[in-house]
């Protein structure tokens, strides 16, 4: 019961939130996540037009302790993060690469504006 209360006070239901970085490269959005202690086969990535979700199990569990208003101690086994994207993307065109503990996801933006030809002189 006590563990349950502590879990609820921590990040996302006991999952560890990874460090991440978002970059707008014009035609695409590139998001990287730092995922130490993670193997490529343990990573799950889900994307919609508006959101990106990453879940990854760690090779070993990590005991985290922090002193604040209350002392908290939790064992983490997974990373989890859901991001609301700044612009709509085409999830089918997304690519992902994992190297040295960094997951890099490239999401092409949906082309929402087209150029209009102007007639007349």
């Amino acid at each position: 019961m006590r563990d349950g209360i502590i879990d609820a006070m921590w990040n996302n239901d006991g999952y560890l939130e990874p460090l991440y970085e978002e970059e707008d490269r014009g035609g695409e959005i590139v998001i990287t996540f730092a995922l130490p202690y993670v193997d490529k086969k343990e990573i799950e990535v889900y994307a919609t037009k508006e959101t990106l979700e990453v879940m990854a199990s760690m090779r070993k569990s990590v005991c985290w302790e922090r002193w604040g208003i209350t002392q908290r101690k939790i064992t983490f086994k997974s990373f989890k993060k859901q991001i609301r994207l700044p612009e709509n993307v085409n999830p089918d065109g997304a690519t992902a690469e994992f190297k040295n503990g960094i997951l890099k996801i490239t999401l092409p933006k949906i082309k929402e504006k087209s150029s209009i030809k102007i007639s007349g002189k």
Binding site: L19, E21, T32, A34, P36, K99, I102
Partner: protein, 270 residues
């Protein structure tokens, strides 16, 4: 109009009283360190936590002794616990050969940059420091594709640049560095202390132990220090995870500093 003037006065009062260049705001507490012309190395939280990781590894691996700490109301109200012992997050270490190391486990807020740099350099002068070396990183966009990060150096005088050449460390030819270290380089220059910043290619927002290893390799060439880096690279993943919270704090401090400096960036031409 009156209200605006009052607000400006309030801001000025806050600035001068709480964040002004008063040394009393920074207190260096040490156990009478006395070496003949010591060398001081610094690792403060910065891009990729390169300096913090490097100095933390160095003091642990070479069994440096804790000889002091730095206190300030400008620092966040944080104390750290190591092996059950409550410690100040900004600490001073030294070894028997007269090498002093300054390590911070807390992000230095922008308001503390000038007062801390000035207080430290004044202390360096008092201790007859012969060389100040700061360890940091320079963020590169393609860091993911670099397996073996390289490092460069910035010197504050002809003598400093010549030391870099002797150690076969490439000098930074063009660019700018932001944060605590450029202020320290300049302060050291004013007081005639040779100062060098070593910078390794790094991730801007993720703890980067490989970059820390690269910067230590350059430090070894500069100081003839002998240190085995295998453990640092082997424990890379553990470090990345442990340093996660400090990296978050540091990213926030860097973002604030960037907001303050963006409009005053120099024009680059060459």
């Amino acid at each position: 109009m009156e209200r605006i003037t009052k607000k400006m006065k309030d801001i000025y009062k806050y600035y001068t009283e709480d964040t002004g260049y008063t040394m009393e705001k920074i207190k260096i507490v040490e156990e009478g360190i006395q070496f003949e012309n010591p060398v001081v190395v610094q690792g403060l939280p910065d891009v990729g936590l390169v300096g913090t990781i490097a100095i933390s590894y160095l003091v642990g691996k070479l069994n440096f002794k804790e000889v002091g700490h730095i206190e300030s109301k400008l620092f966040p109200p944080i104390m750290v616990v190591h092996n059950g012992e409550l410690k100040n997050p900004v600490r001073i270490y030294s070894n028997e050969e007269g090498l002093i190391a300054i390590l911070s486990e807390v992000a230095i807020p922008p308001s503390a940059v000038y007062p801390l740099a000035e207080a430290l350099v004044e202390w360096f002068e008092e201790k007859d420091v012969s060389l100040s070396i700061s360890l940091t990183g320079f963020p590169v966009a393609n860091r993911l594709d670099i397996d073996d990060p390289s490092s460069i150096g910035v010197g504050n005088s002809k003598e400093a640049i010549s030391r870099l050449k002797e150690a076969e460390i490439d000098p930074m030819l063009e660019g700018f560095i932001v944060g605590m270290y450029p202020v320290m380089l300049e302060e050291c220059k004013k007081r005639g202390i040779i100062a060098i910043s070593l910078l390794a290619q790094c991730f801007p927002s993720y703890p980067d132990p490989e970059a820390a290893a690269a910067v230590i390799r350059s430090l070894q060439r500069l100081t003839k220090l002998d240190i085995d880096l295998n453990e640092l690279l082997e424990k890379g993943e553990e470090i990345k995870l442990k340093a996660r919270d400090l990296m978050r704090q540091t990213n926030a401090a860097i973002a604030e500093m960037q907001r303050n400096t963006e409009q005053s960036m120099p024009i680059m031409y060459g």
